[in-house]
């Protein structure tokens, strides 16, 4: 049989991990949404002109400190970061899966993809 199968058990574990990631991200986003709407729901919405988000909503550290104070927008953003981490985790686990199979070529390929992902998370600047 051609070797195009990774260990199905590892894949299944990854699938479960992804689902847990999505569910916890959705829970955080929903909780943050309730906090946000309770505090700001009555204010006027304005998304017509692009301004960009506050600096502290753009970095992991800023989001974490805001979320500790239960600021709605930061809790939502934390949920979005958890969601963003799910595909990254999937790629990282694939490195392990290929390593189990002693497939050096695809360990290298997957590490390249992981590096590009981490680079983009750091802002993707050249």
């Amino acid at each position: 049989m051609p070797g195009a199968w990774t260990d199905q058990r590892v894949e299944r574990a990854i699938g479960r991990l992804l689902r847990v990631g999505v569910v916890s991200a959705a829970a955080l986003v929903a909780a943050g949404g309730v906090l946000y709407l309770a505090r700001h729901g009555g204010e006027l919405a304005d998304y017509r002109v692009f301004r960009g988000e506050r600096a502290d909503l753009r970095s992991v550290r800023g989001v974490l400190s805001g979320a500790r104070e239960l600021a709605g927008r930061d809790v939502i953003q934390l949920g979005l970061l958890v969601l963003l981490a799910t595909p990254v985790a999937r790629v990282a686990f694939s490195v392990v899966a290929f390593a189990f199979e002693r497939d050096r070529l695809y360990v290298a390929v997957t590490l390249v993809v992981l590096a590009i992902l981490l680079w983009s998370m750091a802002g993707g600047t050249f």
């Binding site: 195009a4 595909p87 992902l117 993707g124």
Partner: protein, 278 residues
């Protein structure tokens, strides 16, 4: 309009978008962006940021089901992911420099092309041809389950597929969509993988590509939590409902109606972009 009202409207609209996206197989992003920009006047950069988030949610949420079925080819996905993630970072970077009107026109054209592509006929290769030397060396051939038992398939034209995948990543980063239509074109059209293998491998790739774009978007301040919240939750609920219904209805009429909706949205995006330009 207050934030609470906008959130409610965006939430309901996103449920519809996720439902439609799951039924057409085009994903939620292609419907969310026109909804936000055309109906609610949201700047396309914010709309793309929110849509990207929903793309990751649906891709990761659906992954466990696909993995269980054993169709996706992880080696093909990972190898081509080098091209899509590079394209995604490039596209997300370009989005900064492009005016909303230009992005709107490109979006419209991609919608029209996606609608056309969704009507391609899919015929799985009936017999195993000679191996493609490069694909064989990269161990991209595989086996997939059929009602008659496991069946082997071969992969072809790796460079063509990689180029198409770079374009798919570029569009994903620029427009905030999963560009599943282009990905399936690369896997099914260029590599000649069986259709089920193409769609499931594409779904895996969509989440990783969108994450690469979203990283750049987050740093540039394109991801607004107030807008992403109703979009992510709505699309997630809608796509789960859509996937449940999809197993029961497979009507050609339904696909035609949805294609018409997509074409109308695409034309409107183009017109909108051109008006903004004048």
């Amino acid at each position: 309009m207050t934030i609470a009202e906008l959130s409610a409207i965006v939430g309901i609209g996103s449920i519809a978008a996720g439902f439609l996206g799951a039924l057409t197989g085009l994903g939620g992003g292609v419907v969310v962006v026109p909804l936000l920009t055309l109906l609610l006047g949201v700047d396309i950069h914010y709309a793309a940021g929110a849509a990207l988030i929903s793309v990751i949610a649906t891709s990761s949420g659906a992954a466990s089901a696909y993995v269980r079925d054993g169709y996706s080819n992880l080696r093909v996905g990972m190898l081509l992911e080098i091209a899509t993630t590079l394209g995604a970072v490039a596209g997300a970077t370009l989005a900064v420099y492009f005016a909303a009107s230009i992005i709107s026109v490109v979006f419209g054209v991609v919608l029209l092309a996606s609608a056309a592509l969704s009507f391609r006929r899919h015929e799985d290769p009936s017999e195993l041809g000679p191996p493609d030397p490069l694909a064989a060396r990269l161990r991209l051939d595989g086996v997939y389950p059929t009602p008659a038992g496991p069946r082997a398939y071969r992969s072809h034209r790796v460079p063509t597929a990689s180029s198409l995948m770079f374009v798919a990543g570029l569009l994903s980063g620029l427009l905030g969509i999963g560009s599943g239509a282009v990905k399936v074109l690369a896997l099914d059209g260029a590599m000649r993988l069986p259709f089920k293998v193409s769609t499931t491998t594409s779904n895996f790739m969509i989440g990783v590509t969108a994450a690469a774009s979203a990283g750049v978007y987050l740093h540039r301040g394109y991801i607004d939590p107030g807008l992403a919240m109703p979009v992510m939750l709505g699309v997630l609920v809608g796509s789960i409902a859509g996937a449940g219904v999809l197993a029961r209805v497979q009507s050609r009429v339904l696909r035609l109606v949805f294609a018409a909706v997509i074409v109308a949205l695409g034309a409107e995006m183009i017109a909108n972009g051109l008006r903004g330009e004048l």
